[in-house]
């Protein structure tokens, strides 16, 4: 019988290395460049993958136990919410429209993140980076699935949430998040991480998270609050991955700095444009407001971002090019965006409405320099029109920015009365942009952005009808045919909140339950 010997124990860091990097070997039967073909062509130079700092040290045993516990708790809340008809506890059925935007616009991005993190989790030559990305891949699948499950209950009772996958692939305004994320997914692995993990998750994420999750909390939606906070606990790992990857690139070679700076410029602006939808939701669609878009911007971007870029200056990184303009935009973009959705309210799968009196007062207070001056008069006019039975609906199709795909609604820097237009010529065609920064993104990579599936172009080209539809047939209504292609239930999913089925059902359901409670 052997005598037990005292074994050498590994420290935490060495133990984690044995559990991850120790698994790797340099292949010899197949060349390493063939096994890892994708992480060189962007021009990022990596001399020593061993210098990669693991952003977190989670082995699968701990991951399973920790995540398994979280899932048990989360699904207990989701189940209870459904059983108790929790949807009746929200402040007002207008609130549900924020969830419609989330389910159709954001949730499909989680799915894409899952697949593309599997791709980079396979392709980075460095093992530490691969493991971190793989964990994020399953986390993102988790987000897709928990959001779907939590919002599934709302879909049973409210309109506009029945076809998130179908709509995300087709609907004009959903091409904004779709093209944003596909842009990242079709980039090389280092740009993908800069776009998603750094620019979005590290720099901008609070601007998405706070309005939706605190918004949910303030508006009585405990189901969304729970999945939001549960997802946020994964997010801290993802944010660390973003900043670690950025610093790793910058430390590996000075030649990487200008490439990374270009990506930061691009993805800050792409993310900022994307978030204009969140800005509108935050300022206009939450019956109970949390904070204004402007306040969130000042807190999370101007303050936090300032110190972040001060820290990154030692690598030779400066603030993104669009910084100043985006900071100016904090006073405008929510108003400009919501006005577009209000006027295209027939062509959206959620409801819009004129803000109530006290909401206008709140907007005046939160935006003292801009709301009354530029935006209130139009609301007063539209409210009058609606009162007289002329609720305004825009009937023409807008021109879209070739890069961000948002209609041309944003104004010139320094002049909020003038819409900004930019254009570029490429191979004999003209392309249109909402801003200098969107134009520059195009000019840097025109061969990519000419491929964009621009919804309005596609409608004009007849590509947005269901198969078998005959546009030459008498009485053909192109707009209705497009809505059919989108799977919009006209009159139920779209138009003003006032008079909607959501509004009526919610009132009836709540009235009944209030009466029931009184007995």
């Amino acid at each position: 019988m052997d005598t037990p010997v005292l074994k050498k124990k590994l420290g935490l860091k060495e133990r984690y290395a044995a559990m991850t990097r120790g698994l790797h070997w340099d292949t010899t039967y197949q060349p390493m460049d063939k096994v890892f073909p994708y992480d060189k062509y962007e021009g990022i130079k990596i001399h020593d993958w061993d210098k990669w700092e693991d952003p977190f040290r989670l082995t699968m045993d701990a991951y399973w136990k920790y995540q398994g516990e979280k899932e048990k708790k989360l699904y207990a809340v989701i189940d209870a919410f459904a059983q108790n008809n929790g949807q009746l506890g929200v402040t007002d059925a207008r609130y549900i429209n924020a969830l419609k935007v989330f389910l159709t616009g954001v949730t499909p991005l989680e799915y894409n993140a899952h697949r593309l993190f599997a791709h980079v989790g396979r392709q980075f030559t460095g093992t530490g980076a691969r493991v971190a990305c793989q964990m994020q891949s399953i986390d993102e699948l988790r987000h897709y699935q928990t959001e779907t499950h939590a919002l599934s209950h709302y879909n049973k009772y409210f309109n506009g949430m029945h076809s998130p996958k179908h709509m995300n692939d087709r609907v004009w305004y959903l091409s904004v998040p779709k093209s944003y994320f596909e842009d990242a997914c079709t980039s090389g692995p280092f740009e993908f991480l800069t776009a998603v993990s750094f620019s979005f998750e590290y720099l901008l994420t609070n601007l998405l998270f706070v309005p939706f999750m605190s918004g949910a909390a303030h508006n009585g939606d405990m189901s969304t609050v729970t999945f939001g906070f549960s997802a946020q606990s994964d997010e801290s790992r993802h944010m660390t991955l973003g900043i670690e990857c950025l610093k790793f690139m910058l430390e590996q070679d000075p030649d990487n700095v200008p490439i990374v700076q270009g990506w930061i410029d691009k993805w800050f602006w792409r993310g900022y444009r994307l978030l204009s939808i969140v800005a509108m939701m935050q300022d206009y669609m939450l019956p109970k407001r949390v904070m204004s878009w402007r306040e969130g911007w000042e807190m999370y971007i101007e303050q936090n971002g300032e110190s972040l870029f001060r820290d990154l200056a030692r690598y030779g990184i400066r603030k993104p090019k669009g910084w100043v303009q985006a900071c100016e935009g904090k006073n405008h973009i929510s108003h400009q965006t919501y006005a577009v959705f209000y006027s295209y309210g027939a062509a959206a799968a959620f409801h819009t409405w004129v803000p109530e009196e006290e909401e206008m007062a709140w907007l005046s207070e939160k935006y003292p320099e801009t709301f009354e001056k530029y935006y209130l008069p139009r609301w007063n006019y539209w409210r009058e029109q609606a009162k007289n039975g002329n609720r305004f609906y825009q009937k023409t199709l807008p021109m879209l920015c070739q890069t961000c795909q948002i209609p041309m609604i944003f104004t010139e820097p320094g002049d909020a009365t003038k819409i900004a237009y930019r254009e570029s010529d490429y191979q004999g065609d003209k392309y249109h942009f909402c801003s200098d920064h969107c134009k520059e993104i195009f000019d840097n990579e025109p061969e990519k952005y000419v491929q964009a599936w621009l919804p309005v172009h596609q409608i004009y080209q007849g590509n947005c009808f269901k198969p078998g539809v005959d546009p030459t047939k008498e009485g053909f209504d192109p707009l209705l045919a497009v809505f059919d292609y989108y799977n919009f239930k006209v009159g139920r999913d779209n138009l003003d909140f006032e008079g909607s089925e959501d509004q009526k059902n919610f009132a009836a359901w709540r009235g009944d339950s209030v009466q029931g409670a009184k007995k």
């Binding site: 799915y111 699935q145 049973k156 093209s179 964009a452």
Partner: protein, 331 residues
Amino acid sequence: MTVELHAREIQPLRNTFTHTAYYVGNDRPASRYQEATLDVQPSDNFHYRPTWDPEHEIYDKSRTKIKLADWNVLRDPRQYYYATWTIARARQQDAMESNYEFVQSRGLVAKMSDAVRNKACEVLMPLRHVAWGGNMNNSSICAYGYGAPFTAPAMFHAMDHLGAAQFITRLGLALDEPAVLDAGKNDWLNAACWQPLRRYVEDTLVLQDPFELFIAQNLALDGLLYPLIYDYFVDDHIALQGGTAVAMLTAFMPEWHAESARWIDAVVKMAAVESDDNRQLILAWLTTWADRAQAALSPVAELALGNNGLTALQEVRDALDMRCKKAGIVV
């Protein structure tokens, strides 16, 4: 009264999402697996071609030669979605922790003879790297396969492989000094008996067709390796010579293999049943890769089981052929 009022007045407008209802109907709520998985991958109007693969769309059926009218037929009989997968694995992890406690409290490692312990390490430590190859390959299947019913379980399977590689690592650290890991890696890289298997794994790392990769990794290689190692070597050989500790500390592997085989067989079966072309393709892939895997595992089988190695491996191969036959692929 209140309850009845609720039940009568608050009728749902619909039971599930339209893309889910397309498969399961709308007359009753869909299951969580169904809502989480069926037709959830974006499929239309992609904006840009991947700069890393301009020949294809982000999600593209033509990355594989297998043709399916609808990739959503490749259901996972385990019906795993993230929550059920993690909760199942967390439970297995708990069982593994109790095994560790048991082994420790009885001093089972110290009771093993040096010969048995060394044999266990010699055979099992290089398998860390095989499992890591399985992790990479299943990440590929997830990234380049088509449709969430096929790709989501592949990512679970990738992480399971990482888990398996970590269980082996932990076993090495429990049985011996940390240097045992380096010794295993050295054998993996240099010892003659491991080279055919390493060549096999490296050749799969460059396979481009995600379905062929699925066959080569999950069916052909793992279908032979896991029974050979965990049934024949660990359970029937090491455990009987006083190495119960090894069996207990690797208990996850055979259990996981049996469970995930249900998924793998279902995928093969559904793909094969769709057309004769598919069946022929899978058969050709399976024959090539299972023959290669058997050859590559021969020196490993002899290392593990001595003179009985090749017989054991042939039994394992016969069992795999039977498994494939049930899935509609007759070798």
